[in-house]
Structure formats: C-alpha cells, structure tokens
C-alpha cells in the first residue's frame, strides 16, 4: 500500500489544472488623509479605544481601564509600568489566570483596520495578553502604516515563531448577533500612541 503522502501527490499531479501566471505584487493604496481619525474609527468599531500621549509622562496622562493603584496583578513589558502580583510571582503561564492588566508594546499599527502587529518577546507575554482582563498596547505614534500590504512589507518573511495582529478586545456575537466584549480574553483593549 502506498503511503498517504505519495498518493495525495499522485492525485494532485493527475488533477493538475493548466498553469496560471503568478500575480505580481499588489500596489497598495496610500494613507487616508486623516490617518488618526481613520485609526480611531476602525479601532472603535472593533470595541477598542485610542489615546495619544507624550512619551515622558504618558502613564500620568492617559485614562486607565482600571485604576492601577487599586489592582493586584499586572504584567508589563513596558518601561514605566511595573509588574505586580502574579506578574512577578507566576511560576507557570497558567498562574497568570488572575491577571487584571497586561501592558505590552507593539511594533506598529495599521490605519485601515485599527490592528497592531505584536511579536511576543516570550510565550508568557502571549499568555498574559490572553488571560488579562484589560489589555493595553503601546505603539510609537510615528509607526503607522496605511494598509495590510504595507504591514507585510515590514514584516517580510521573518523567522519569528509567533506574531499576531490584535484589534480590540476579545469578542463574540454568537448569541443572536448581539456583540459582547470579553469572550475568552480581555474585556477591554486600549491602544496608546506615544509622541516624542
């Protein structure tokens, strides 16, 4: 008996359609005229919120989803926000289950859809982004790209084992199409753009 792989390749060869030309790269549309307004609208469509602040004092200026002084468990990979509770003491990723807040920095934001491109620095960072009740992502305000085409020319075909676009909090509309924020992951998501 031939093995499955050999047989599947034989079947594909036998059924091969006529060759078709490889499409050229896409010439992407330009940045919308008001990039901040578009980004804000797309993110708000997705249930997220956008704030813009100065790099030196942003932690004092922004509106936090929860008062940081009053919460027990914070995971942060951003300078200026300290880890607290399980953010320091977690032995396994599972221990992050009770995280209140996760603060991460992402590479860039995509204006046409409000998503950010984030490469977790460790598997734990990814788990934290999923298990925390509130997620904050910090991005340099200069790092905006108009569309996903521009995004992928920046990402290239880099060898990282994991990377993701994040847009708004975890959500579902599986019960009568009613939108509910906070399906399995974060219930809120704030994008903070930092200006120098």
């Amino acid at each position: 008996m031939t093995d499955a792989r050999t047989e599947i390749f034989r079947r594909l060869e036998a059924a091969r359609p006529p060759a078709s030309a490889r499409p050229a790269q896409w010439s992407a549309p330009p940045m919308p005229i008001d990039e901040m307004a578009t980004l804000r609208d797309r993110l708000s469509d997705a249930g997220g919120s956008l704030q813009i602040a100065q790099r030196e004092d942003w932690t004092e200026r922004i509106v936090w989803p929860v008062p940081v002084s009053g919460i027990a468990h914070v995971y942060s990979s951003v300078a200026g926000v300290s880890n607290k509770g399980v953010g320091i003491s977690a032995l396994t990723d599972h221990d992050l289950e009770c995280l209140d807040l996760c603060v991460l920095s992402a590479d860039f934001a995509v204006v046409e859809n409000g998503a950010v491109w984030h490469r977790p620095k460790s598997p734990r960072e990814r788990a934290a982004a999923l298990l925390a009740t509130h997620l904050m992502i910090v991005v340099d305000a200069a790092e905006l790209v108009p569309t996903l085409h521009h995004a992928y020319s920046r990402i290239g075909s880099e060898a990282a084992s994991f990377g993701w676009f994040l847009c708004g909090p975890s959500k579902t509309a599986d019960i009568e199409q009613a939108l509910v924020l906070g399906a399995h992951g974060p219930c809120t998501m704030s994008l903070i753009l930092l200006r120098d």
Partner: protein, 462 residues
C-alpha cells in the same frame, strides 16, 4: 428527507424564520459598508482570485515548499487521504501522549471529518471553544453556519441550554450574561486542556507557517498553554507568499462579518520556543475529496473558497431555510457545490436549493462563479440519473413539448382559455407550493406572438 422537507420544518416557526432572515441580511449590509470603505475592493477580489488560481495550478510544488519550511521550523507534517485517516492520526498523537482533555477552536474541516465523535469514542474529551460551536456541541447539533454556528437559535433557548448544562439560573436571556457564564466554564477548560486543536485559515508555502483568525481569542488561548498543538488543514488552503496574506486578510473579515479585521490574526511558524515550556506542533494535511474536485474544470474554482460565509448571508434560500436544511457540513451556495461534488447521490437536491439570482457570486471575495457552478451541477446530476422522479418527468414533458412548436402554441391557447375561466389560483395552489402565498399575474387573452401578428396585420391594412 431532502432540503425541501427539512426547510419546511424550519419555516414552520415563522417568527424564527423572519428573525434569521433579517439577522443575516444585516450581516450582509455590514459587509457592504465595510467593502465600500476599501477603495480598491473589486481589484482586490480579482487579485485574490488570481492568487488562488495560480496556487491551484501549483499545489504539489507549494505543499512541498510548505512541508520543507514547516519541518525546518520544528513542526511535524502528516498527510491524510480522507477524514478517517485524519481522525486516526490525531487520535494516535493524543493517545501516545496519554492525553484525555483537548480544546478545539472552530474548524469546518474537523466537522467535515467527524473528528469529535471519533475522539470521544477513544475516550478523549473534546471541548469546542468557539461560543457558537460550544452551544451547538452542547445541543448535540452541527453548526448551521460556517462563521456563526448557532445563528439558528434564539437567546432564550441558549439560556435554557446553559441552565441545563452549566447550572446557570433558569430564565436568563441576556447575551452579555450568557457569554460571561460560558466564559467562566470554558476558562477552566482552557487551563486544564492538555492539547489544543485548531484549523488553519491560510498555510503559507514561503514560510511553512500558517494563520488562524478568531474574534474570541479561543484558538490562541487553546494553543498558548498546552504542550501540544495540532492544526488540521485542507489541501486548498495553501497560498504562495507571506505578502499574499494582505490580500486575503483584507477581504476575509470584511466579507464575513463586516469587520475590517478580526480581533486575533495569529501567525504560527513552528512550535513555541523550547524555553521554558517546550511545545510540539503537528500539522495534518487532508485531501478528503479535494483532489477529486481539482480534477473537474467546471467546479475546481470552488477550492478557492476562504470560508467567509458571505454567500450564505446573502442567499435568499439560505436565509429563509436555515443551515440545517442543507443536511451537509457546509451549507449555503458554497456548501451546495462542495458537498455535491463530494457525494452527488446524497446531495443531488442541493443545486436546486437556489434561485440562480447570482448574489452569491457577486459577494464572493475570491469570485467563485457559484451560481454558474450550481446550474452546471443540475445538468450533470440529471445526466448521471441523480434527479427526483417528479422533476425528471416534468422536465421530460416540457422538453418534448418545446420540440413541437405547433403543439406548444395549441397548448398555450387552450391554457389561456381555461385559465381565464377557472379558479386558477386555487387550482394552482394544489399543485405548486410556490403559489400558495403569491397571487398569479392576470392571465392575458393572447400570447405575444398573437398580439404581434395582429398588430402587423393592422399596420398592413393601413
């Protein structure tokens, strides 16, 4: 029982049918608004179609490239000729590691293969984690929509279900409250799961990586914690380059739900880094009839489908008959093509669950000519003898009549004569269900041909 009989059960609840119809049309209008915000939308659809056409012509090369790159990144690639082999591979991987509890994110492929019953028979607990899929799993049903699995249910029914299965207070019907109950129940299962199963939206040959999209984050929670990730993928899901993802991801969520992008668009390439907690990644590539469809020029473009569900949302038959009426894993226009190709004898009625309005082809992000394919399937199934006896008899009679012009004219004349004098609407309702709720137009006294001849004669007289 055919599509018509199952649809009759669905439409018996007029309130539900009306709600279902309006809810899906609302999703269609959201899709339109999202597409309108993209200036290059139509060119994007064309490009997506070209990339898929190119990929379908290069499947052996692309899968070789994918396999090589995936192995280099640390994944293990398995090949399955059919659903049964797919299920056995996954059951073996789990049993070898003594795994008893797995979480699964939405994958129409695993539905198609019947993975859940197979694993359950092996004593493995499978929990569907997409909220809609969890709801239908708890009800022992299949999804009625490929993107919104529980769209056939009303909130009160879900409240009853949760009261019975999760011990929530009876009588709840607030979606936020119900979602919170499911979240608590499933969070615990995520934390205890020993393996995460996912589908794949796009496999990228150039990198050996793949992309999974969700709004709930369930594919991510399901794979971020356990030591084993198994991803199932159909042969048609391969695209050549990483940059091609931009084209498909710009189309997918907008077409599916009217969102510009889903909340989570996760790019996997090999397992998690080995420190501190090593993970295994296994990818199971499945044929299950796809190579057969590839060999059929009239229908192979259906393999370009990216499972957005736009053709379901816009289809007047789907919206009013419900997903379960199709009796197939994938319902709606695309399901009628895919399922009929896989099993023509069982699904021969599905190409007739279509008014040939063409709306599906108009919204398809990869421009599959769905209504042309459904029409072509009708002819093919008729020639192969897969046709209801009543339809064959009726069409045979009509064919015979159309071949005899004078007989046709005589029948037209006598038909009009009788129809103008008998209680036609009532008689018609006895034989044709279509006219039960529709008034016939007024029956003319003469045919167009007769009117034309009279007019010419009158003109000649002048």
């Amino acid at each position: 029982m055919g599509h018509v009989d199952r649809a009759r059960e669905f439409v018996a609840d007029a309130d539900r049918t009306g709600w279902h119809d309006r809810a899906l049309w609302f999703v269609r209008t959201k899709r339109d608004r999202a597409a309108d915000l993209v200036p290059d939308w139509e060119a994007l659809r064309e490009r997506a179609s070209e990339i898929k056409r190119f990929a379908l012509g290069q499947l052996p090369e692309l899968w070789c490239e994918f396999e090589e790159n995936a192995i280099r990144a640390g994944a293990v690639v398995h090949w399955a000729r059919d659903g049964h082999e797919h299920n056995e591979i996954i059951a073996r991987l789990l049993q070898e590691r003594r795994i008893e509890r797995v979480v699964k994110s939405k994958s129409m492929l695993t539905e198609e293969c019947g993975l859940n019953p197979h694993l359950e028979a092996c004593g493995i607990e499978v929990v569907d984690t997409d909220l809609g899929e969890r709801i239908v799993q708890l009800r022992n049903e299949s999804p009625s929509h490929i993107v919104m699995p529980a769209i056939h249910l009303r909130r009160g029914e879900i409240g009853e279900l949760f009261a019975e299965k999760m011990g929530s207070p009876p009588g709840l019907d607030d979606p936020t409250e119900l979602t919170a109950i499911a979240r608590r129940d499933l969070r615990d299962r995520f934390l205890r799961a020993q393996a995460g199963l996912t589908g794949i939206n796009f496999a990228v040959a150039e990198t050996g990586g793949f992309v999974v999209v969700t709004n709930e984050g369930n594919a991510d929670l399901g794979t971020a914690l356990p030591k084993l990730h198994i991803a199932s993928v159909g042969l048609e899901k391969i695209i050549p380059r990483q940059a091609d993802l931009a084209v498909f991801l710009r189309l997918l969520a907008r077409s599916a739900t009217g969102q510009a992008i889903t909340a989570y668009t996760s790019h996997f390439r090999g397992p998690r880094p080995p420190s501190p907690d090593p993970q295994e990644l296994h990818i199971v590539v499945v044929d299950n009839g796809r190579s057969h469809l590839l060999g059929r020029p009239a229908f192979r473009e259906a393999l370009a489908c990216i499972r957005c569900g736009a053709c379901l949302n816009t289809c007047p038959v789907y919206r009013r008959s419900g997903g379960h009426s199709y009796g197939a894993t994938v319902p709606g226009p695309i399901g009628s093509v895919l399922e009929t190709s896989r099993d023509p004898a069982t699904h021969a009625e599905l190409p007739h669950a279509c008014s040939l309005c063409g709306s599906c082809s108009d919204v398809c992000p990869v421009r599959i000519p769905l209504h042309h394919q459904l029409l072509a399937f009708r002819g093919e199934l008729a020639r192969a003898g897969h046709q209801r006896r009543s339809r064959r008899a009726a069409l045979g009679l009509i064919g015979w009549l159309f071949a005899r012009p004078s007989g046709y004219r005589w029948l037209g004349r006598s038909g009009r004569f009788l129809a103008r004098r008998l209680p036609t609407a009532r008689l018609n309702a006895l034989v044709s269900p279509w006219t039960r709720q529709r008034a016939l137009p007024e029956i003319p006294e003469a045919s167009f041909r007769e009117l034309y001849a009279r007019r010419r004669a009158a003109e000649n007289d002048r």
